[in-house]
Symmetry: C2
Subunit: 374 residues, 2 copies
């Protein structure tokens, strides 16, 4: 039987790889940035707009959809693809990250985790088996094992959590039934290289067709994150897709791809868009800035997205100040397009065996966290 | 010299007319519903989405744009068409309606009106001459004379206001300079047929290329509104476009077109969309209703809009309950499409000389203000 999801590497350059990820809902090119549709919608844009800007794979959140509208409701309406009008690849997380970051009064035991909903305080329980059952009801192409996400620098907690995460991964594999879904395992271990290596070996040996890296971009420094990625690049199996969870600034995308990551997702580009911040290869713009009031230029003159082809910074500034929804829509289109363009540029650089040059040029021109000059 | 805006009637049936409105930014078919872009954006949708759903002419509000970002800023950014990315016809109102409905502490005198901004309390003055100057800076294809909008049932107030409105109309004509803009006059007179006739005669005789009907749908009954429209249909010149301001329910659109109106605008379809109400020829749906939670049907199975082609009531209900922007976007697309389809249906009925049959069938199937059965 053909696996639900397969991965072909067409070129590599150092640790960086360019590939094709084949899923039951189509093939996507890697390196790939996956926009996040937390509640079965990428906030402020339509599926048609996502297709137009070149999105390939979307992520949706099991925790949110389990609580509202409920995975059984989504199954009754034909599954997540049909529900949200996305005929292309989908990935759902396990719900673990949100339980550990968003839910109230959580209690972890060996069997699973009990928590209260952030919506209404109601009590729920998530186990490896229920996380798989919920994700089966949702029906994404790629589903994730349930893991525990401890604070990255607490070694004792990370050691204990790692034991649970590995046991839960085994149980997820045993509970996994749908042949049209691929189950990816998640490497944890905080900022500790030895724990990360131990976790990578354990998860790899279980035979998952894809390996995720969890528990990064959660409070550790950039340097700590890059060190962990450097260490993992050498021990993870070369032939399986590598998915770095929850990382999505332009600069982190470049650094992760250079270190062998194939796939990333993050709410950052869409969340920043709703806060009127535009991501560009030269740095960030805050579109509420009065300096842009009569600026006729697009956000990024080098960008070919719908927002940059049609609207001035002056107009976007007006929309932002006036509190118009269109500001969020246009900035979401732009920010996602910026990541898509960066992924495409990195892929081409890998094919051309000039990834280090590409990354060096990006680092040299990118002004971290500072607005570019008007 | 060719007038900026001309109107060809291609068919009439009773009082109803089907025509072409030619403007410097293109020709649109009438009867026509114009979506409102209060702050230079139709809330929750892009210009691309408006084009896709068949919008022809958009309206923007002088009062709002004068206060923010300022008409001079818009002029500096190339005018309203370029500012908001709309290459098709635009109409701006005079600011009068908002000054009389939204602004604080207004004081009317013979020369104009002084008011305080609803945004920051700052004091401003609007005169016929400044209303024209602001609209010249904005640069819409059709601009409106400054009028006074009194409560519809106060006869003394309406008589006094009518004198000012007519004097201001003359002054707007005298101040009007741009040859690429058409200036429309506005008939006032509240619910009083004799005042309406007097106003229609005065405005018509001034030679405006288009005649608007103001001061309706502001608190009077539907019956009073239809009576006024019946009376005006007989006295307004047949050859000029007739624009009913601020009216935009499906049922009012039909009744107004039957009574000779060519053009209408209203925030209702877009505002209701943001409150999760869907307009259909069978009545209104409140998409927050729990009855729709697992309903796989589109809003209106007979509708061909993007929302109805791709999404279930169950999904829209989820988006509404979850507070997602996409609910507003999809319902805005649907509600505007419902008006566009109704306008197209009425136009075809006029061409086929079966307008009364079309209207009778619409009335028979439409359930006013009640949700249709699930």
């Amino acid at each position: 039987m053909t696996p639900a999801v397969t991965f072909d590497i067409v070129a590599s350059d150092g640790q960086a790889r360019a590939g094709w990820l084949h899923t039951p809902h189509g093939t996507v090119a890697t390196p790939l940035f996956a926009p996040v549709g937390t509640q079965a919608t990428v906030k402020a844009v339509t599926p048609e707009q996502l297709e137009a800007l070149g999105a390939g794979l979307l992520l949706a959140n099991t925790y949110h959809l389990y609580l509202r509208p409920g995975d059984k409701t989504i199954a009754a309406l034909g599954g997540l693809h049909r529900f949200m009008g996305w005929a292309h690849p989908l990935l759902t997380d396990s719900g673990g990250f949100q339980v550990f970051s968003l839910a109230e009064r959580r209690q972890v035991d060996a069997d699973g985790v009990t928590f209260r909903s952030h919506l209404d305080g109601s009590t729920h329980r998530l186990t490896p088996e229920s996380a798989m059952a919920i994700q089966e009801n949702l029906g994404a192409d790629i589903v994730m094992a349930l893991d525990e996400c401890p604070p990255p620098s607490d070694r004792d907690y990370n050691e204990a959590a790692l034991t649970r995460t590995h046991a839960w991964a085994e149980r997820c594999l045993a509970a996994h039934r749908r042949h049209d879904q691929a189950l990816f395992g998640i490497v944890q271990g905080g900022i500790f290289p030895d724990l990360r290596r131990r976790s990578a070996a354990a998860i790899t040996n279980m035979g998952f067709p894809g390996i995720a890296i969890g528990g990064l971009s959660v409070g550790e420094t950039k340097s700590e994150m890059y060190t962990i990625l450097d260490g993992l690049a050498e021990v993870l199996p070369k032939d399986r897709p590598r998915y770095l969870m929850g990382v999505g600034t332009l600069e982190d995308f470049v650094e992760a791809v250079v270190r062998g990551v194939d796939l990333m997702d993050c709410v950052l580009p869409t969340r920043m868009a709703r806060n009127h911040a535009a991501l560009t290869p030269l740095g960030r713009l805050n579109l509420r800035n009065a300096a842009y009031a009569e600026d006729p230029r697009p956000i990024d003159p080098a960008c070919g997205c719908y927002a940059c082809r049609n609207f001035s910074r002056g107009y976007l500034r007006h929309l932002a100040v006036a509190g118009e929804i269109l500001a969020a829509t246009l900035l979401t289109i732009h920010n996602l397009s910026a990541l898509m363009a960066l992924a495409a540029g990195l892929r081409q650089a890998i094919l051309d065996v000039r990834t280090q040059t590409f990354a060096a040029e990006f680092r040299a021109s990118f002004q971290k966290h500072r607005p570019i000059e008007v």
